[in-house]
């Protein structure tokens, strides 16, 4: 699964630290998601989408191999 976290974060002008604070996780978790090393839970995905004012599937999307 891929995501557009970095792009959305840039649009909102948020640092990893600020986004982490908004959704109640560590900066390490944001970084791991941006590097596609970690796939978040549904709850966390929904929280992230809410911060960006978008639908979950606009921030997270499946790849052909998924």
């Amino acid at each position: 699964m891929k995501n557009s976290l970095k792009v959305e974060r840039a649009i909102k002008d948020l640092t990893q630290e600020e986004l982490a604070k908004l959704i109640g996780v560590s900066r390490q978790t944001i970084n791991a998601m941006e590097k596609n090393k970690y796939v978040p839970s549904t709850v966390l995905s929904l929280k992230i989408a809410r911060v960006f004012g978008k639908k979950v599937e606009e921030v997270f999307f499946l790849e052909a191999t998924d």
Partner: protein
């Protein structure tokens, strides 16, 4: 605000875990060395020291559980991976070590402290690798 609360909860639980771990270690030292140097051959004090040690251990376990529950999902995953590996290595390594003793391949008796060291080291290495992997 919510994040501040979350961070503060993790910090507070970490402090509590440090305190309970220290308490448990001290109670373990008292239960171990008390009968040797302070109250030789006093069964009542021995039982009391062991009960206190078990109580402190129970407190430490509960606080550790609370700390893990307060972590975020990636941190929990790192902890779970490390614990899973430590448990596996502990069971496999511990039973292998026991077999070495039973079959007299090793000259000395198997000691529980080796198992504790093995589990602790595996857990710490697992945590280190997990933190590196998701850095």
């Amino acid at each position: 605000m919510k994040e501040k609360k979350w961070n503060m909860e993790v910090r507070s639980n970490t402090k509590k875990l440090k305190f309970w771990s220290l308490l448990w270690m001290v109670s373990m030292a008292i239960a171990t060395f008390g009968p040797m140097f302070v109250w030789p051959e006093n069964t009542v004090l021995n039982v009391l020291a062991i009960l206190i040690n078990l109580g402190c251990g129970g407190g430490m376990i509960l606080v550790n559980r609370k700390l893990i529950n307060s972590l975020d999902e990636l941190q929990k995953k790192i902890q779970m991976d490390a614990m899973g590996i430590a448990l596996g290595v502990g069971v496999v390594g511990g039973l292998g070590y026991s077999l070495l003793d039973q079959t007299n391949v090793i000259t000395q008796d198997a000691q529980i402290s080796f198992l504790v060291i093995l589990i602790s080291l595996t857990y710490m290495i697992g945590l280190f690798i997990g933190k590196k992997r998701y850095k």
